[in-house]
């Protein structure tokens, strides 16, 4: 192109020169010859320009063809890459359909088969407590830092309708002396078939449907230890239960048959020792649950109960010995304040009744429960028998100072603990009053009045700090006084415990997921 422009300029310049020369009337013959030479030069340049233009046009299709092929090749490469990506995505989507799913979050570590026929989640509960007893009149309480609960909790569902739970306990779950050995044990091991929310069948070891406070998960109780009422409620037992929630939980029912355990006891051997069984049942209503009356939606009330019969040789169905290492009635500080005399046996019928209620509205929580445990007992040899009716009641409540909602299943802070960003979690103040009264007919034949108290009255105050959904810190103070009980000089429980009020300061650090 530059060559063409140069040639054209030269040609034009030459034309001007010729014109200038031609206009001169007085051109002599020498000038005419010069003009002729210039004309010939111009002709030659003209010819050269034509040749160059012709050559350029001849080369152009070859370059166009090469470019076109290159573009086509590139186009094919791009299409191939795009299609490969498409096929990879299809293959990944197909593989994902059959790949197991894994999740990890505040609710635990979960995994599921691709068809959801096998779903399992690993949860956990760790509670590190401290108990510090004060004003114990030089008789040392069991000051300690303890691993109160340490549980891996494995839950899951098989083929959509069969739930399971397996929970071993590695912490110091058994109240008692400091020297009590921690024996890993199975706390929950059950299968639950849920045909529908209103028809479910559970089999295995789990909490019988009697006490409201006891049914609340260990993760969410307001205080470190449950109240005196739970001393009369049956603990975890092995059995079968039919249960369900009707009308979206407005009515909840449960009826079951179990091996039968003593008051406040749990079945630690996972087996029954008598021919007779215990029937447990509970009906709980939340009549406003499905209404738009927000203030009453979380108001519930009901009644739980049990009925069983004990063989006369059964010594396991009641707290029957002294000495502190065997079952009895326990304080908030987990110290035995009542036990039957050695050799007393449970005989014939044992029934319980527990009217109960709770109310949750915004930051407010209230729970109340009353329990009657009516049991026939006999001296060994059946020389003397009695029908003893022990009672207990409690009322507890809490207020979430930071405004979050309180529920039966705990408090979820709006702002997790993150001081760098101004988050402090949720804070809840809690209080409780409880009493337990032993039937006066228990004394002196079936229980030693100089050792065992005939009644206990406990009040507690506490502060719960929910750092996030998984971490919680508690601090509480509990004061228990006794009616009757041991001499001041007693050195072993229950006498040593019931001889003076119990004051204990609790703390807890809890991890749950």
């Amino acid at each position: 192109m530059k060559i063409n422009q140069l040639l054209i300029a030269t040609f034009v310049g030459a034309q001007f020169t010729v014109t200038a020369l031609a206009g001169d009337a007085t051109t002599n013959s020498t000038e005419a010859a010069e003009i002729e030479v210039l004309k010939q030069e111009i002709q030659k340049l003209d010819q050269k320009v034509s040749e160059i233009e012709t050559q350029h046009q001849a080369q152009q299709p070859v370059a166009d063809s090469a470019d076109k092929q290159q573009i086509q090749d590139l186009d094919q490469k791009v299409r191939i890459l795009s299609r490969e990506r498409e096929l990879d995505q299809d293959a990944a989507a197909t593989a994902a359909k059959s790949a197991p799913k894994i999740t990890l979050g505040s609710g635990g570590f979960g995994f599921s088969s691709s068809d959801s026929n096998f779903v399992a989640t690993i949860h956990g509960l760790i509670q590190v407590d401290s108990r510090t007893f004060s004003q114990d009149n030089h008789i040392q309480g069991n000051d300690s830092i303890l691993l109160r609960r340490a549980r891996p909790i494995i839950t899951g569902t098989v083929y959509h309708d069969f739930d399971f739970n397996f929970t071993p306990e590695f912490g110091n779950g058994t109240p008692g002396a400091a020297s009590a050995a921690t024996t890993p044990s199975i706390y929950d091991a059950y299968i639950n078939y849920h045909y529908s929310p209103w028809f479910q069948i559970e089999a295995g070891k789990f909490k019988p449907p009697v006490g409201l406070e006891y049914l609340q998960s260990d993760t969410y109780t307001l205080f470190n230890e449950r109240s005196l009422v739970t001393d009369l409620i049956p603990g975890r037992d092995v059995g079968f239960e039919l249960h369900g929630d009707i009308v979206g939980g407005v009515v909840s029912y449960a009826v079951g048959i179990f091996n039968g355990v003593g008051d406040g006891q749990k079945n630690t051997s996972n087996i029954g020792f008598q021919n007779d069984r215990e029937f447990d049942g509970r009906l709980f209503l939340q009549p406003f649950k499905a209404t738009s009356i927000a203030a009453l939606q979380n108001f519930g009330f009901g009644v739980g109960g049990s009925w069983g019969s004990s063989s006369i040789t059964n010594t396991l169905d009641l707290p029957n010995t002294t000495g502190g290492s065997n079952p009895g009635f326990y304080t908030d500080g987990q110290q035995q304040f009542f036990a039957y005399r050695s050799g007393i046996v449970a005989a014939n019928s044992h029934w319980r009744l527990s009217p109960q209620a709770y109310y949750y509205y915004g930051p407010l929580s209230l729970l109340a429960e009353y329990a009657i445990s009516d049991q026939q007992v006999s001296t060994n040899g059946l020389t003397h028998s009695a029908d003893l009716q022990n009672t207990a009641w409690e009322i507890s409540g809490g207020w979430v100072l930071t405004g979050e909602d309180a529920t039966f299943n705990g408090v979820t802070p709006r702002h997790v603990f993150d001081p760098r960003n101004g988050g402090w979690g949720a804070l809840q103040v809690v209080a409780r009053y409880a009493e337990l009264n032993v039937d006066k007919a228990a004394f002196p034949l079936f229980a030693d009045p100089t050792a065992s108290a005939s009644g206990a009255q406990a009040w507690s105050l506490g502060l719960n700090w929910y750092l996030n959904k998984n971490i919680r810190v508690n601090a509480s103070y509990s004061h228990t006084t006794f009616t009757g009980g041991g001499a001041a000089s007693a050195t072993t429980a229950p006498a040593s415990v019931s001889s003076h009020p119990e004051d204990v300061f609790f703390t807890r650090v809890q991890l749950s997921f």
């Binding site: 094919q76 299409r79 191939i80 795009s82 299609r83 490969e84 498409e86 096929l87 293959a91």
Partner: protein, 330 residues
């Protein structure tokens, strides 16, 4: 008359009340969607008229090898209509869902129709592809599915290999060299025949698609014969896609009778017409003659002739470490 009408009405009601609803699952290979859509409607009508029962047939389509593995893994097929007998043999041997002699239960070794492998090229055939040896030229890009998963791909591979054997005097080394060059020109391997058709026809990749004959015709129909044309090579392979009742599944579902009738009906005049209309070569010679214009005449060699049967062909070429694994590097 009134009594007669009453009896007739009562009988109709009785028949309606007793009419059963039967469900079948046909697990098939990739390109048979259109065939079985039409065939299933025809069979349902036939069965209703014959028995009064309503039958609905669900279809599953995919690469023949993959489909066979799905049935082995538990896909509850009542019948399988796959691309090659080896895949149904696998179901019999690995899952024991049907007897080893399944192929002898229906005419023509249980193959109611046949097919072959042809070339689908861009309109105008810009690369001048006429025969198998054009596929190994350096500037030709070939689209074909993966023989590890697709029955059609295995037929195509064997067709190319058979061409090489015929051309080079049954010299295996030269045939292997030929097939190596061919697969060097394959830029992408779909899992099934339908995927390859999408790659070639919709994504615009490649110069030639090695396709089931019916698939090539369907592509012309769907995308227009102004975009593609079919080139039938002088030699190709006789593809015999078989059908079989999956006995244990059918027995469990209570569908043995209907499943057997379903496959038998493929051999009926109506079944053979539907096959021919969908560009499958019917076994019925009269119907084949009627639809002769749909099918180009060519030399067809068989797997038995060239490779000693499917078991040997599978073991030699498509098993892990076989010839295909040796020659193809993605």
């Amino acid at each position: 008359m009134k009594i007669f009408l009453k009896i007739l009405l009562a009988s109709s009601l009785a028949i309606s009340a007793s009419a059963k609803e039967i469900k079948l699952l046909n697990v098939s290979y990739d390109p048979t969607r259109e065939l079985y859509t039409e065939y299933n409607a025809a069979f349902a009508k036939y069965w209703k008229a014959k028995s009064g029962d309503d039958v609905s047939i669900s279809q599953s389509h995919g690469g023949s090898g993959k489909q066979a593995q799905s049935v082995i893994a538990g896909l509850e097929a009542d019948v399988v209509t796959l691309a090659l007998s080896y895949d149904i043999d696998a179901i019999s041997q690995q899952a024991k869902l049907l007897p080893a002699n399944w192929q002898s239960r229906l005419p023509n070794d249980s193959t109611p129709y046949t097919s072959t492998i042809v070339f689908l090229v861009r309109k105008g055939n810009p690369k001048g592809i006429k025969d198998w040896d054009d596929l190994v030229k350096k500037d030709v890009s070939v689209v074909v599915p993966n023989p590890k998963s697709s029955g059609g791909a295995r037929w195509a591979y064997l067709a190319a290999y058979a061409y090489a054997l015929e051309t080079y005097g049954h010299d295996d080394a030269k045939a292997k060299d030929f097939i190596t060059k061919l697969y060097k020109n394959v830029p992408i391997l779909d899992s099934g025949a339908r995927g390859s058709t999408i790659t070639f026809a919709q994504r615009g990749i490649g110069d030639v698609l090695l396709a089931w004959e019916n698939e090539a015709h369907l592509a012309l129909k769907e995308f227009g014969d102004d975009k593609f044309e079919i080139v039938t090579p002088p030699l190709s392979i006789l593809a015999e896609p078989p059908v079989a009742v999956v006995d244990k599944n059918a027995k469990r579902h209570g569908t043995t009778e209907v499943a057997t009738a379903y496959l038998n009906y493929l051999y009926s005049d109506e079944g053979q017409e539907i096959a021919a209309k969908n560009f499958y070569r019917p076994r019925n010679q009269d119907i084949a003659a009627k639809y002769a214009a749909n099918f180009t005449q060519l030399k067809l060699v068989t797997v038995d002739q060239e490779f000693g049967g499917w078991t040997k062909a599978q073991a030699t070429h498509f098993a892990d470490g076989g010839v295909f694994d040796q020659i193809y590097q993605p």
